[in-house]
């Protein structure tokens, strides 16, 4: 194989000069998958297949895991990079590979704000407007970010890397990608895969922690129904919320600006067609390209490192801490709340973001203990607050850590 490779890279050097003896089935096979395959590629391809399997069979975040899974497969198919530019970093003879062009949307930080635009255009902030105190749960769960940051420093990462890894604890794929693209591009693949994998695995990770930290009585607690929210409130919210959060965390202007812009398009009532495309075709196109690109960026030779393993371990811990943070803070808030204002601490788990999966997990867990207790709407408030919270955390890190 080394022989075949060197023969053909010599060939490539003399573009246009072809030797009859170089054109053979043998050399072709050497450059095909049969000659180029390595064990790392096989491992990654299996990982991709597992992701697709989980997405289809278990319905874990399929909109993300199917594109990422197939991207992993496509990015790890063996080929000879001296002959054809295919991989997400390949440039050959001045021509970028197509996967590199797709990946530009990730590495430049362009895709995450567009995803936030779509999220804004599909999110109803009513739950949050009707129950302001639940916002605090979305703040509490961000403890996962900062503990993970410290853990990463402890494991030997530098400050930029630690900040980027920490954001995994925000349980927000686009935010994690955005921060990583600015702070630690070389870890972007591992961070993105970890963030999205654990977001998909929220229904697996959260329930045991939620049960561990709550009593049976707490889990059965019902909460007051949410109030009706007027259209005008919904229109004012994105503007005022953007103003406040951007003032406090200017580093989050790009992400939060697009989030609240999308929401204004949805709520204004006069830009329906723009909101439809923002959360429809534009969002779908970006999700396809973002997921696939993140997948292709896991080429074994760059991806299979001890750093990636550390990131996966830290990611798992950060999700657990974030969940615990939310649940425990709900219990802490209950110390100050009385009567039917008391919170069902399960709702705190939704503070991690991972919209709307974490809220759905709360609903499912709640109903395990009381079939008629619907917590979904209550959980949506910390859930969307968690998105805002992790964007603020990202903003703080982006502006405090030089990069």
């Amino acid at each position: 194989m080394t022989l075949a490779s060197s023969l053909l890279s010599a060939l490539t050097a003399n573009t246009g000069e072809l030797n009859l003896s170089d054109i053979s089935f043998a050399s072709y096979l050497g450059d095909s998958g049969f000659g180029q395959v390595e064990i790392g590629n096989i491992i990654m391809i299996i990982m991709g297949i597992v992701m697709i399997y989980l997405a289809i069979k278990k319905d874990y975040e399929p909109l993300l895991l199917v594109p990422i899974g197939f991207g992993i497969i496509a990015g790890n198919m063996p080929y000879n990079p001296d002959l054809i530019p295919i991989g997400y970093l390949d440039v050959l003879g001045g021509q970028q590979s197509v996967f590199k062009m797709f990946y530009f949307g990730v590495s430049s930080g362009l895709f995450p704000p567009l995803i936030f635009l779509g999220i804004g255009a599909m999110t109803d902030f009513s739950a949050l407007l009707s129950n302001p105190k639940l916002l605090l749960l979305g703040a509490a769960a961000q403890i996962g970010i900062f503990i993970t940051l410290l853990g990463s420093l402890f494991l030997g990462f530098n400050m930029q890397e630690a900040a980027a890894i920490g954001i995994i604890g925000g349980a927000d794929g686009p935010t994690a990608i955005f921060v990583a693209s600015q702070m630690a591009p070389h870890l972007l693949g591992a961070i993105a895969i970890a963030a999205y994998s654990y977001m998909g695995l929220v229904p697996v990770i959260q329930p045991p922690i939620m049960r561990l930290l709550t009593t049976d009585e707490e889990r059965k607690r019902r909460m007051k129904p949410t109030r009706h929210v007027s259209t005008t409130e919904k229109i004012l919210f994105p503007i005022i919320a953007f103003f406040i959060t951007a003032f406090i965390a200017p580093g989050a202007i790009t992400l939060l600006g697009m989030l609240f812009f999308g929401n204004l398009l949805k709520e204004s009532g006069v830009t329906r067609r723009l909101a439809d495309s923002a959360q429809g075709s534009l969002n779908n196109i970006v999700v396809i390209l973002l997921g696939f690109s993140v997948g292709t960026s896991t080429q074994a030779k760059y991806f299979l490192t001890t750093d990636s393993i550390k990131i996966f371990v830290l990611g798992a811990i950060s999700f657990a801490i974030a969940t615990a943070g939310g649940v425990l803070f709900a219990k802490f808030m209950n110390l100050f709340l009385k009567g039917d204002n008391k919170l069902n601490p399960l709702v705190g788990a939704a503070g991690v973001s991972a919209v709307p999966d974490a809220a759905r997990v709360v609903e499912v867990e709640g109903r395990k203990y009381d079939k008629s207790n619907h917590l979904l709407m209550h959980a949506m408030a910390p859930n969307v607050a968690g998105v805002i919270g992790s964007a603020i955390a990202a903003g703080v890190l982006l502006s405090m850590v030089p990069h």
Binding site: L128, L129, N131, P132, K133, L135, L136, G138, A139, A140, Q142, I143, I145, F146, I147, L149, L150, G151, L153, F154, G156, N158, M159, A162, A163, S230, T232, E233, L236, F237, I240, A241, I244, T245, I248, A249, I321, A324, G325, F329, F332, M333, F336, L337, K338, G339, N341, A385, I388, G389, I392, A393, V396, L397, M400, V401
Partner: protein
């Protein structure tokens, strides 16, 4: 399991103390900012409701009186003060206090904290009444 214990563990075992120190500061400022941001946001929500309803915005103190069913503002202040104090106890308290004093007049979080301390008492009082 508390965050403080974890932090201490990390600090004690850390290889590069300088970086860890900065990390802890970053974590405190970051977590503080997240809380402050979301607390201010949660304060603004009743305000948004008021504007939407077309009423003139009265002073905050009157607000709470005129909305006996909506006690969230007080509660939130109470909770925030507690969490704030909690974080502050962990680390370089004096150092930060010093820095903040420079900015005290226009933006000091201490003023909010101080004011909320008062409100905490009032809120607790009112809640006791209501919960009867």
């Amino acid at each position: 399991m508390s965050a403080a214990i974890l932090l201490q563990a990390v600090i004690s075992a850390a290889p590069d103390q300088h970086l860890i120190d900065i990390g802890i500061r970053l974590a405190l400022i970051g977590m503080g900012t997240v809380f402050i941001g979301l607390v201010i946001l949660s304060f603004s929500l009743p305000l948004i409701k008021r504007i939407a309803e077309g009423k003139k915005t009265k002073k905050v103190s009157e607000n709470t009186d005129s909305m006996p069913e909506d006690i969230t503002t007080d509660e939130i202040i109470a909770i925030t003060t507690a969490i704030h104090a909690h974080f502050m106890k962990i680390n370089q308290m004096e150092d930060m206090k010093l820095t903040w004093e420079m900015y005290e007049r226009p933006y000091s979080p201490w003023r909010i904290a101080g004011r909320s301390k008062l409100m905490l008492d009032r809120a607790a009082f009112r809640q006791r009444n209501r919960s009867r």
